[in-house]
């Protein structure tokens, strides 16, 4: 029989130390850290970052590699502000991965439409990297990203590559002065309405503010898309990540176990719950 000491040693709440191998300031309130963490994971999953004494925060993995994990973090509160002070070479406590991933295998040979708003672009970056690494498995790929202003653009180095690799549409809420990446002024929702045809076989990923997700989904359904073609991400308060603390529940579903990626029809009636 296993003793209680042995059981507690393997506690799922216990984080482990990994090294920060790179730190990059993206915008004035977001930064990206690269962790020397060889973690097997799938697009759409997330991890918990821990600062003892401050707390924990669930953060989506925004890369796709066997050798490292990248996280893009927005400073919105206590934990995330403290985290922003971390430097290359520091150690960080982490646990994961958690969450149900996008079922990428099911999307083989499909066209892909990836739609992100603001910091919602970060979780999608992992799936785009996956698609890029397995380019032959997918059809046409279109990216729609919306940011507040050109200063708020995330992952410029990636976008420089993706603009040639995929069809990329960038939108800004406001443009004062020169635009970049051919970005137009106006919401990403309008761009989707304008550009996307009645693409019966495409799979759509949407991530961003709830209101944006809802608008985009409505537009696509008006265009004849089926709810089952659309995948959205939900964000809820999370403490455990393993279906225990009950905080992330949406109408009976655990965002941490059944999400954070959901197929649109699984959640649509209870988005506000």
């Amino acid at each position: 029989m296993t003793t209680k000491e042995e059981i507690i040693k393997k506690s799922p709440y216990k984080p482990k130390l990994v090294e920060v191998i790179d730190y990059h300031r993206e915008t004035n309130d977001t930064f990206t850290i690269k962790l020397g963490w060889k973690l097997k994971h799938e697009p759409g999953q997330f991890v918990f970052c821990s600062l003892p004494g401050i707390g924990e925060a669930p953060i989506s993995i925004c890369s796709h590699s066997d050798n490292y994990v990248e996280l893009n973090i927005r400073e919105v509160g206590n934990m995330t502000r403290f985290l922003s002070k971390i430097k290359k070479g520091d150690k960080l406590l982490v646990r994961g991965p958690y969450g149900r991933a996008y079922p990428m295998d099911k999307f083989k040979s499909h066209n892909m439409i990836i739609i992100g708003g603001g910091s919602g672009v970060a979780p999608l970056k992992g799936s785009v990297e996956y698609i890029s690494n397995n380019r032959g498995d997918f059809g046409e790929v279109s990216l729609f990203f919306g940011f507040r202003t050109p200063e708020d653009v995330l992952f410029r180095k990636r976008l420089d590559v993706w603009k040639d690799e995929f069809s990329m549409y960038i939108n800004f809420d406001r443009v004062e002065g020169k635009t970049i990446y051919g970005g137009k002024q106006g919401f990403v929702t309008e761009r989707v309405k304008e550009v996307v045809g009645d693409n019966k076989d495409a799979i759509v990923f949407i991530c961003g503010p709830p209101i944006m997700i809802e608008k985009v989904a409505e537009i696509l359904i008006d265009k004849g898309f089926d709810e089952k073609q659309i995948y959205i991400s939900a964000e809820r308060l999370m403490y455990c990540g393993i279906g225990k603390c009950g905080r992330c529940m949406i109408h009976g579903k655990y965002t941490c176990l059944d999400g954070a990626v959901f197929r649109y029809d699984e959640l649509k009636d209870y988005k506000d719950d």
Binding site: I7, P12, K14, L17
Partner: protein, 344 residues
Amino acid sequence: MVKGHIEMFKKSLLFQMIMVQFTIDKGDFEGFLRKVIEKYDLIGPVEGDKSKLRRKSLFRKIVSPDELFLEKKTYFPVKGYFFDPKETLFEFDGDKIIDPKIELKKKVFFGLRRCDLNGIMHQDMVFLDENEDPFYKARRDASFLIGLHCNEGDDYCFCNSVELKDFFDLMFYDKGKEYAVEVGTKKGEEFIKKFSGVFKKKDKIITEEDRKIRNKKKLDTLDIKDNYDDDSWKKGSDLCVGCGACTLLCPNCHCFTIEDEVNFDLKTGKRVRKPASCQLRHFTRVAGDHVFRNEKLARFKHRIYHQIQYFKDRHEEVFCTGCGRCIEGCPARIDWVKIINEMK
């Protein structure tokens, strides 16, 4: 996996042992308890401290058998013994993580009602799934569960309406001069052997009549799928004062918050988990002060739907054990069973 848990339980000894039953003479009962107290911590129902403010019945360590209060179920649930009100998940010193030590003596629980036992079974389903919770597991491993069958319910409970399951190591039935005892697990069988002097084997002594519980209260339906938008939920939420007594008293409710406690050196401390109530506004609050279930109505429905529908959708068991504690303990006297019964 969770399903497996139920299947395993259904294949458990209970179903093989149902014919092998025992009796214990009430004259021997006290002596038996004294022997238990010598060897283990005995946890049982007591009437509550008359001298103090807390007069409601609860489970507590029993020093002498005459402390036991066996007339009816306790006001407070037993869950705190398994789900510690303040569990240390680990201690830290800077970035160094230190495993917590938990002191555990083997505990024998006596006098658990069917609602208490089903509450434990439901918590097992949550905490002992494929992402096993080590703290809950350690506490459960150190426990032995003896039930006491209710012949009659009180003014609040309605357990006949919620499909309770047999879940216990041993179950006692009050038969007047003696208790009849049913064995539920291998652990229960071994326990009986240790006290072979007092337990006498007697086949099929527990009748169908003995297994019945007479309830005063009834929940008319467990199907509330189509009632989510019903206006009458407001009859409950309008009265709610948001105290969280209902979730605290519920044998099932297990939601929690994790937080860090730092010492004055700002370097050492511990990460703890504490119970949280879905009936409080901050339960779903995220950064930027967005609250998902911002209305009392949404929070009230969340509680009832979790109890009646969500858990069943996931685990094939009705969560609510029909104990009525949330109704008895509600300062606003919200009777959600009545609200459902009056719905179309």
